[in-house]
Symmetry: D2
Subunit: 403 residues, 4 copies
């Protein structure tokens, strides 16, 4: 069917990617290298190793890695410097993980001399694009295998049949159709499809797994302080933490207070609309906190420019263009602005909402002597007249034009 010799598969250890693994072996007759990463999805990795071995993967071809710190430090944090929201709400939890997986797959392909990579994303979604744009950007001559676009295992029944035929173990709860599809990492967990496909129907409580319902959250607010240095969070309630530890702690706080649930109908890059249920408890806190610290440290000119650039930046990440030159250009602009973004934000978490209630910074641009209602000696109110009159000049000339 092709001349693929060795393929690096993004392998979760679950049924679907196990079927893919076997399908690659049988269809392409090629050697398979499995790559399983801990991005904070909350699953043990060792079972994936066992399963790969069981499916005949040589030990030296099994790559299992904990990438949580890299994920948060080099992908999540840079993105949060931008206050990135896709279509007004979505914190891009799935989108931002794909480039890292793609990057590691390519690195492993280079290390193992593999000539192909494969992933388990379908032909309708955004993830195939994100994976493959990453692959091609990093190794233009790589062969890409997307089994869901190629094979005929297009129903659950056929998939199960293939698994049984090839002695792939099937967990009892995986025999039937899952009620919806899930993706998870340290930043978020998403659910979509099946029972969620009617966008008028509220998602049921059992869809949520990372947050308590706001109604079940504590009756008293929780206050938390997040500390930032140069745009990145470094401490929670005075305790310095590594990036992944910090996000884990914010997830715990957000999850306990019902924070970060989102029901979104969004426009996919491939052209159709889809509905997703997202839980981003720690990320939601981080977003609000970062906005809070920028309020007191970031100049208006920088902030407004960031706000104008943000939708494009978010779109680029959503569409899979993390490795594009334009994403890097925007990142350079954003990072350039973050030098003074240092200080502490105080937040109130309560039954589903998070809000800034205080902020302070050694780099504060807030000048009480300028803003005070009391008399001051630094601001001459008469300057305002000239300011207004020259800002108005063009409008006055325009009026003359219109009449």
């Amino acid at each position: 069917m092709s001349d693929v010799k060795k393929v690096v598969l993004a392998y979760s250890g679950g049924l679907d990617t196990s079927v893919i693994l076997k399908w690659l072996q049988t269809t392409y007759g090629c050697e398979v290298v499995t790559f399983t990463a801990d991005l904070g999805q909350g699953e043990e990795l060792e079972p994936a190793r066992k399963k790969a071995e069981l499916l005949g993967i040589k030990p030296e071809n099994i790559y299992i890695e904990d990438l949580r710190e890299t994920f948060v430090k080099d992908f999540v944090f840079p993105m949060f410097r931008a206050n990135a929201l896709y279509e007004g709400f979505y914190l891009l939890g799935t989108s931002i993980a794909r480039p890292l997986i793609a990057q590691r797959q390519i690195e492993i392909a280079k290390a193992t001399g593999a000539d192909a990579v494969a992933h388990g994303a379908t032909g309708k979604g955004n993830d195939q694009v994100r994976f493959e744009l990453g692959y091609y950007a990093l190794k233009p001559d790589i062969k890409v295998i997307a089994p869901w676009r190629e094979w005929d295992l297009t129903s659950r029944t056929r998939l199960i049949a293939f698994a049984e035929e090839h002695q792939i173990p099937i967990a009892k709860d995986k025999r039937g159709e899952a009620p919806f599809s899930v993706d998870a990492n340290l930043l978020h967990i998403s659910a979509e499809g099946k029972v969620l496909e009617d966008p008028w129907q509220e998602a049921e409580e059992y869809v949520y797994s990372r947050t308590v319902a706001p109604e079940q959250a504590p009756d008293k607010p929780t206050y938390v302080e997040v500390e930032f240095e140069r745009g990145d969070a470094v401490a929670v309630d005075g305790k310095r933490m590594s990036p992944a530890t910090l996000l884990t702690e914010l997830n715990r706080l957000g999850g306990a207070n019902g924070i970060g649930r989102l029901d979104l109908l969004e426009g996919r890059f491939v052209g159709m609309k889809s509905r997703g249920i997202y839980e981003t408890p720690g990320g939601t806190i981080l977003y609000v906190a970062h906005r809070g610290i920028e309020q007191i440290t970031l100049d208006r000119g920088a902030m407004h420019l960031k706000d104008e650039l943000m939708p494009r930046y978010a779109e680029l990440i959503y569409n899979g263009f993390w490795f594009s030159p334009e994403r890097k250009m925007l990142q350079a602009a954003i990072d350039q602005s973050q030098g003074p973004v240092t200080g502490t934000v105080r937040l109130k978490l309560y039954k589903g909402s998070v809000s800034v209630v205080g902020r302070k910074s050694p780099n504060s641009l807030y000048s009480l002597e300028h803003v005070t209602f009391e008399e001051d000696s630094v601001y001459d109110q008469r300057d305002a007249q000239g300011f207004i009159k020259l800002n108005a000049l063009r409008l006055r000339l325009l009026n003359r034009q219109q009449s």
Copy 2:
């Protein structure tokens, strides 16, 4: 001091603008026309008439108007079509009222043959800019009097003394300093200054007047359905309402559920940062609802362009450029997009948060047959390969460049 003959004053009937009224009479020796508008600030207007009469204003020079419907229909709704947020959070409740007041002042100036207008905004804030850019845009030769930038009544003591000297009645609770400064209309109420000047200090509960504390809101969520036609809300829970009635109803719902509180440190147009506490209960619901209906009716290309234009649009309104050609250009683009934005959004209100839980529309772009996880006959998954490969082509060529 000048040759001002007749001045139209934006007059609330309160102590400050009464002092201004008298100060204009005594300083400029000119005739004063008072203009008092109901924009939903929640105060009776008739006392303002009485007070104006008491201060010697001729009946024909007293203008009192209910502008609530105009305010919502021609200013608030167009702005909400844009999903306008200033610096990520602020729904521009004060900003959007100023152009309407300025416009009516100028219309009255033209009708009464007045050669000047006056307002009660200070020399440090944004409102002076918003008023005066409106004045100049609509009548370039108008004289503008901004007493707070001119006079020497710069302390409360002096102001009270002036009032006493000129027999201006002073309500008992107005003798002392107010703990903070307030602005209100149907869209929002704001508080700033004095006790709020330390941005690290959480605002106390007594600062809030239009919303209950989330902690005091009902323990059960409230569900509400908002219906839109061509981008504007037209009904709540199936009941058609006029714009102002609708916003009033959303205020009631939002207020009762603790929705729409905001503690913001923001960059003023005049250059300094200030801290405001805003309550926009109905507006917050409306913002989320409008985003919700756009999700299902607005094409991705249109939505993303709107998102990119929005920060500029919000900045223009915040800075007072409602009457500028560039605001009108952006409005034309936004309005152009809203044709299909018709349908119903279902929202959950609960203890301070509002979220979309369902949306439906006769113009729905959501296509279950395209997005379904089931097999379909409208989407060929193999198209995705070509889509990705051509999107990747430039990235592949770039890689070659770098190596």
Copy 3:
């Protein structure tokens, strides 16, 4: 091979589309409707009719139309209101013609009950995208046939062989390979490929057909006055003309003076770079003239916003998204600005360059009394101090932050 019953072919009457015509008949066994339009490419249309008849097309299936006025009025002029330049230079001469052709093909498909459309663009270029996005936008269920992506006539030899086999007349000068590929309409003529493929090699003089070489242009400058109304050109040297007549006249003037040649290496939507030689004599004059009239009639705020939106607008047209909602949004913004763009521009044409040397308008925003070096009574220079001080305030606060 398929169930296509009737196909509307964009038919030039040339060899390539004649081969396509025959190939559609033989491959799909379907009825062919030919559509031949005069967009100002400078060729007779009647030979196309004869050739279509010769190839067996029924008279009622032969559509021949003069679309020059529509082309200029509804496509070229709206685009020129935007001052659209792709990648800094390209006036989009080919791009802007495609949507009109696609639109007419679909209208004819609807009128004749055809279920498919076909075009003669290759699989590597932008034109296939522009045609097909137009088709799909206007009739989503249309079948699209792109022979160059499907057939095996991939060399000149095979194409000629197919033509001979099917008795398609071959003009003598079409037997060999053309030295480059050409596209022409009233706005421009382009050349690309073959002898032009080395981007370091200057294009030879014989490549150009619509302009004299600057070196051969008259030794004396030509002055021309272009008059605009609401953003569109309406007269040349005082003589009112229809849109197409006017552009024809500007082509004559520009061509005689060597104006509008462009050697461009550009980024195609499909991902690779290509090199084109463009001649846009009248369009180049029109671009400069429109900029000139905007200088004196358009407010700075409007102009700068237009300039910021322009690259996106140009990209949308280049990429084929004329019928997208975002192009329409941008058009609405642009058109909104053009109300006052009325007046006359005086231009100097000389050996390859065109420049504004004068402009006047009944809507002039140029105010001599404001700008004069003499004393004036309308501008108070002291206002500048307040203007500068408040514009500087945030920079001053920033300096304090940095130190």
Copy 4:
């Protein structure tokens, strides 16, 4: 009149700034430090020293510096990386020089312990803003003296009278009114005011001083090759040159060929429109050359983002915000893109026009094997179908909505 002790004056040695010098001494009774810089305006600096001495300035208070290399390397080149054009045409020749002068004045103020700075720009123009925003950004507590906004020497007669009264030497040709006002540096020379104030009247030939009239330029074209490294020009016709030397050489070539003349009616930051005649011979070549080298080395995504950011960047420089954080953010984005912008551009200069006729680069993104009309083995034309179909999907869904 004030407590100014020592002021650093931007001093040209001409009559106007000499009058300012004396006026500062007599009005403020303060010590004056003169700062005279060679930015390539083409005047000897030593006469300025003599004149300053004559007017009583102590030798240690006379600063005379050759800033040409700094000007081109740190201001002109970064700006040209952005392809900055203000309002479509203006290469910002005056604007870009002001921040450097302001910066040196502040450095000298710090070195000499001066508490004030002064400049000779009028109260109507942009230069006052550019100077003063620079001053305030770099030293927020500086006192700024703008004599033209303060004094009463508002007519030529009074100015001459003041000069005579204070024994300031007056060159014979400076007695009368100059026919227009001039600003010059290595990048450009500008003329405005007086005889140029009628924007319908073509500027006379005597206004131009740095370029020959196109009609007087050589009858044969000149070809020149400009070489770039990482976005900056480094060599002309194979000869490496320092930045200022290179720009001088391009000025020579451009001037001799009548290149870089511009008659512009532009929108000033202070609100009115003005007309300027600019000559930027070398800059015009550099602009076209930089665009040319970007064509072959810069990815489409990067280039289009640059094009969208450019108008804002140009506006910031025009308005005097060189030292703002948003200009630095945009610069970071632009600079990020320039890594691969290395190679050689071949240009044709002929009687007023400059055009790219060839470009080559070791980082070329132009791939003949992809773009060729011949058969290739790297591009699968069938990919285009999927690419188009998924790009069209949203447009197809939209059509369904509309019908």
